[in-house]
Amino acid sequence: MSQTERQPTELTLRGQRATGEGALRGVRGVGSLYVHVPFCFHKCHYCDFYSFVDSRDRQGVFLERLKAELGVLAGHAGALRTVFVGGGTPSLLRAELWEDLLGWLRERFAFGEGCEFTVECNPETVTPELMGVLAAGGVNRVSVGAQSFDRRHLATLERWHEPENVGRALAMARDAGIERRSLDLIFAIPGQTLGEWERDLETALGLPVDHLSCYALTYEPNTAMTKRLERGEFAGADEDLEADMYERTVEMLGSAGFERYEVSNFARSGMACAHNMVYWRGEEWLAAGPSGSAHAGGQRWKNVPHLTEWMDGVARSGGYSPIVDYEGQDALRALCERIMLGLRLGEGLDAEDLQRRAASLGVWEAVRMRIEAHRRSGMLTDERERVRLSGRGFLFADGIASDLMIAAQEKTPG
């Protein structure tokens, strides 16, 4: 599978892309930072992240460029409240590079009190040494990709790791003093039964974790998994089974003290991932590394998802990455995003904030009518101060979000 870097998708005039410089102008005091490490030792078949197997060992150069970019971003950041290093497989970076990176971050950025600092890990790559380095550098949260504890299902996903290594990795993190630990799990894998998924959940609950992300397998475009599905190698999970699995997840995790705070994310009290909440609440963050997406100053943009192009661009422009998919300030877009993201949260949307945004666009009446309709049908709770999905509503979040978005985009009469 895609062992090579993906091809760039957009070109701008004279072969030069715009860089993040323009977008960052005027951006100040951002409290969250995402760092993307694109390397993996094998490409999982369901994965649509920008990641690839690096046969040329460019970790050293990558880190140099990353530091250059972070150096620039530091000028736009305030005291950091959350940092998230994702990928790819960040734990694949060699320990001495990690030491270098963490030192650099400490040197350039101000870290706020109790800053949440997460690193994504593949169970196969976790070592006591690495965990020690991370902990010493201020990392206080790891997110381990487990996906399944069943070898058969891991094989279907082309996910290369030994199930036992998940527990081992978490133990190493704990022993190194990394206090918060999360697992990623996938359900509705072809051939998976409800019973098997329940066993995976039980296994996960038996491990030292305070947070679980449970995703229904999604067939993203341009992934091997989707091609295999289209070829008829296997059938997608039945909708009823998938719904049963999801409902069972909410139940089992709920009774184990894990609250659903987002459609697919569950945490013990106070252990919700603060960094992800920044995304979902529509707050600001900066991003470094190829394919990293940022949201600041009402704009969204993405670093070019191509290692060489990103490295060359950063080198050429003194730290600014070439960017793609830029979206400027737009109150309607922002409103739609608030609806789409906020509805996915356990806390829902702040009704006042929603009303203010919608009213300024002259669409509050239309939106309010749809909200009322969904309250009547029991999809939204009756709380006045929040626009919040009911337990049943969570199963239909997309439909409701899309419905409210239609209302928000309706032309106001006159």
């Binding site: 995402y34 995703y215 229904a216 397998l217 999604t218 909708e239 009823d240 998938e242 719904a243 999801y246 459609v263 697919s264 992800n276 920044v278 995304y279 979902w280 963050w285 991003a287 394919s291 990293g292 997406s293 949201h295 969204r300 993405k302 998919d325 979206e327 877009r333 739609c336 995003e337 789409m340 993201l341 996915r344 049908s377 969570f394 199963l395 239909f396 979040a397 997309d398 439909g399 979000a401 899309s402 419905d403 978005m405 239609i406």
Partner: protein, 638 residues
Amino acid sequence: MARSGYDRCSRPSEKPVGVFGCVIGASGAVIVTINPASIMQIRNFSIIAHIDHGKSTLADRLLQSTHAVSDREAREQFLDDMDLERERGITIKASAVTVKHMVDGEEFMLNFIDTPGHVDFSYEVSRALKACEGAVLVVDSTQGVEAQTVANAYLAIGQDLQLIPVVNKIDLPAAQPDEVAMEIEQILGLPAEDCIYCSAKTGEGIDELLNRICRDLPGPRPPETDKLRALIFDSHYDDYRGVVVYIRVFDGRLRVGDKIRMMGSGRTYFCTELGKYTPKPTKVAEMGPGETGYLIASIKTLADVRVGDTVTQDSNPAAKALEGYEEPKQMVFCDFYPSTTEGKGNSFEELRDAMERLALNDASFTYQPVHSEALGFGFRCGFLGLLHMDIIQERLEREGGVEVVQTAPTVTYQLELTSGEVLEVHNPADLPDPSTWRELKEPIVRTEIIVPREYVGDIMALCMARRGVFKSQTALSETRQMLTWEIPLAEIIYDFYDKLKSMTRGYATMDYEIIGFNPERLAKVDILINGAPVEALSFIAYRDTADKRARGLLVKLKKEIDRHQFEIPLQAAIGGKVIARETIKAMRKNVTAKCYGGDVSRKRKLLDKQKKGKAKMKSIGSVEVPQEAFMAVLDTGE
């Protein structure tokens, strides 16, 4: 330019071609000299064949052998002029071509008419045959006699034409000319020894064929009157020249400048141009008995010309028109709607323009505006048959630049009301309340199917299952049989032909002809979605098998309609009585699993798209029904 001065002898240095010599005069106008042809020297004939047996290739070879087309100019299938025809290898428009041939120092004017080979166009074959005294019947020596060979030969024999059987493609290693000649004798009664063996590819046998055409085919009958009588046997619309009418003069003479009258319609015109295709259009000053050519008379639309009508002189009219032939009847109907995908070529207005333009070119399809609750404004169109329908759809899209949605074909039913009045019904939705009518009749066809012997049993079973009535079985040869059945047209417009082909590994051929209407146990089946009847989905079916068809339809509908937040019953009913039902279960879940920081834009666009998709759906009984559901349901498959 060839566009305005149709008649182009653009390279004066070139040798004149065909019967006519032409030179460019000082004014640039073309002056045509004609070698007056005596009646005895004229031969009017058609070439008829089963599709792909080599009719067009043979026509080309004849043009080449008579030097009407120089070798350098010769391109394949000169007579098929539309792109579409070329691509599908079928000839849609009959064209009359005039060439000359010398036999033993005697000069013959040969007028030949290329005919379509397909069943749907048998009316065009008949038209062409009306203008002929003979026909060349081409049979592929590697295939043998096929269904359309038989159907076309019958048409020719029925009109008392003299036939010259030609066994073609003898250059191929698989050729079995003797066996095929025996088949021709067996089934059509033409002596095997009369067959000419030829290869339209290598030219072998072509000279013999030309000689036989001159020697064996009868010349035109002597004139019965000196008043003009010319049969209109075809017409087409030319973007630059307007309506071009093909005529065969039987009696009298026609000259450029004459005021002519169409005896059927009574319309009069001035004849502005006469000519012949040699095969280049070449003007002539006049045409006499036995001759074939084209006529231009500033006729605006094809609708003003009735093929089969007789042209006479307005000032000196003939007393009686020539015997015409029956207008083709549209037996297969379907609706075309503009596609709802946004973009160019997808509006009702564009579709209407394309329809109007196409109708200028093809007078044999009909259209009238309709409105469907599900699909909006569109047109209900009538066709001669299924292939005709496919061709029109393709031409609309290709030449008209529109994108269309096509509903399943239905047939014309005859409805006898209690008042005794008889109505034609092309659309199940038009069927009035059952209490107001006495009988519903459906069209019946006689079909000839030719198959290898080992498949006879399967084909018999297929025809039985389609409510067929067995008529006869004839051996063509040791290995092949011809079966004759009478079957309701409604049963063959679905997948009959495909079934026939797949059951016989492609070996079977069939042709059919409508022979009448039979009263049958027919009923209108209503489809209800969530309790609401959907007219666009109703259909007329044979009572005894209606529930099976209804169930199949509901299953398809179920696949096409997304689950909703509530359960949706799907029902099929005859006169209020439910004969089949299915249920679409309530949707359980509609939520994207993953939405992280880098996903926001993409996910937002996805939801937006979901919303746009919704806007295109038709809401029926609070159920969102996608347009595809109507299409898939109406699809012809099982």
